[in-house]
Symmetry: none
Subunit: 193 residues, 4 copies
């Protein structure tokens, strides 16, 4: 399996670093190769083309993330706690890897429609996890029984995404991790007094 070989991960990590530092459009294959310590051609032994590096990058990081989140959530006893864990892990994950945050929040969005469709397909797993939490909350009776799950999930994602993007665009001047509880509160109870 190609994705278990050391050079595969080496190239992915180099891509995150190069894209974060230079921006999407200045992240030439040759620059990524150099950062990974391999020849340009070696990239193409592991990836179909440049776009495939980006998709694989997102797949790899997102796969690790959803796996971890599933494990943690499995240990929680109710939907409210699960949502809290999800918010915490989402924000911690990106707070702990600012390069990855820049890449996912800013640079990867400069890709064309086709690539974005592939990215959305990768996000499907994450979507399912959130939907499951929300459905569980409804069943438990702690969430509105007429909750529109799709809409609520879009609120969760949209809120987290906007918050991280703002943090990145503000050059990470404040501590993202401090926002876990207030965000969780907002999502649960809205803005009403």
């Amino acid at each position: 399996m190609k994705r278990d070989k050391p050079k595969y991960k080496q190239i992915i990590d180099a891509a995150v670093k190069v894209i974060a530092e230079n921006g999407f459009h200045q992240a030439q294959v040759s620059k990524i190769a150099k950062a990974a310590g391999v020849a340009d051609g070696t990239i193409y032994l592991y990836f179909k083309n440049k776009e495939d590096i980006l998709v694989s990058l997102f797949e790899e990081k997102m796969g690790q993330f959803t796996e971890k989140i599933e494990q943690v959530i499995a240990g929680k006893s109710n939907s409210i706690e699960k949502l809290l864990a999800l918010v915490e892990m989402h924000l911690y994950q990106l707070a702990d890897d600012p390069n990855l945050a820049v890449v996912t929040q800013i640079e990867l969005r400069q890709s064309n429609k086709e690539l974005r469709t592939q990215i959305n397909a990768i996000l499907k797993n994450y979507i399912n996890i959130v939907d499951a939490i929300l459905q569980e909350g409804i069943n438990e009776g702690v969430m509105k029984k007429d909750l529109d799950v799709r809409l609520a999930r879009q609120m969760v994602f949209g809120t987290l995404d906007e918050i991280v993007t703002n943090w990145v665009m503000n050059e990470q001047k404040y501590n993202l991790k401090d926002l876990v509880r207030p965000v969780h509160q907002l999502l649960i109870n809205g803005i009403s007094a």
Copy 2:
């Protein structure tokens, strides 16, 4: 003033149309010029460069939008109603102009960091409107008195943005306008039962 001349608007409208129909990366200056019925060189009599077309496009559309929203909101008596009006206008505006929706939600995001920074600057007015509503809510006592206004605004924006983007990516299969009340509800009261 350049932006009052007919060709200025002609080019902006051509840009929206060309980008929506061809995608950001296939929206060459020559294609926009042709759609606007002017020569390539003429573009540069009205805009500094290609990026300036995009910024101006966003500025123009966003300017009209915030003006309208300010008028409508001025006629509302409290923050809850104002937020409802804002949600309604946000969703209606994009539901009524699918080309514009595609451009703002998908295509314009494929631009580089610099352009996105300029876009964020243009959004400042809109941000202020939301912040004012939230602050008013706090003062009225209908919103949490310890509400983090920035966070709450990010929730409002993030939620609206995610909802419209999902609607666009799903080829606008459902009616965006039907979501006004449930979204408003979610923002006000969160997901709790």
Copy 3:
């Protein structure tokens, strides 16, 4: 019409020169552009792509050649004289433009199957001229009445082609024009005593 503009011919002539001097594989677009005294991008205002330069080059030269040959042949009274004129013009044309000879006999054959198919299509006119001469000879009774026209034409072409190619490969050491009469004799009477 693009092919009437001066730069069109300028680029074609530069291509013949560059290909003859450097060989097909060392004839980069940038080299042709430089020789033509235009920018690289200008090439693409007149030709769809690099292959199109080659096809157009052959079309242009071959078109001029068949036009000229048709005029000359029209002034001849019988098929034997017409064939003589054709052999003469074929050999003179290439003897007078050694660069063109190198390009058509050697370099243009290094192209892929698709390009060769296009080249064959361009040759169709020339084929028709030869076939007409042979058919006329049969009708006049000066050529075998059971002559297989296709086969005879392949002999004519094959012989001329092989002779010119040998001359080019031998660095044009002898005078190609001296071969007109003996070749004509061979084609008419074969090798028999």
Copy 4:
């Protein structure tokens, strides 16, 4: 001797097959290696470089052909019969091995000047055979005593070559073997009535 080892012939035959099926430019060394059932690197134990595979291929096939032709011709009593035998063997050889016909008539010509020079050197033996037949014909008095042997040989080669190439380009729709006698006739007596 390397060329007596099984893998040598294995690689040559794989090359003919791969080139005939994929075309010259799509016949990568790795593809030939795979078809031959050896590793890429193994190729270089038997051939100096890729070009050497092609030259050796031609050498091998041409060597077998000229050997066979010399044997057959030795059994013929006069030059006319010898020429007939040569035409017959030339057309039969390629009619019986369509892959080889595609490779020699079309694909191998896409090679550069240097390779073509080497191919011409290999053809020298074949040339000598034809020249000997023609000279014999002159001596016997059955061919013109002032025949230009070089020119006549170019007619023989050019005609055979053009005929086979046309047959290959026409997807071998007709029977090449049927042309032996008419071609022989044409070469001997020309097109005159």
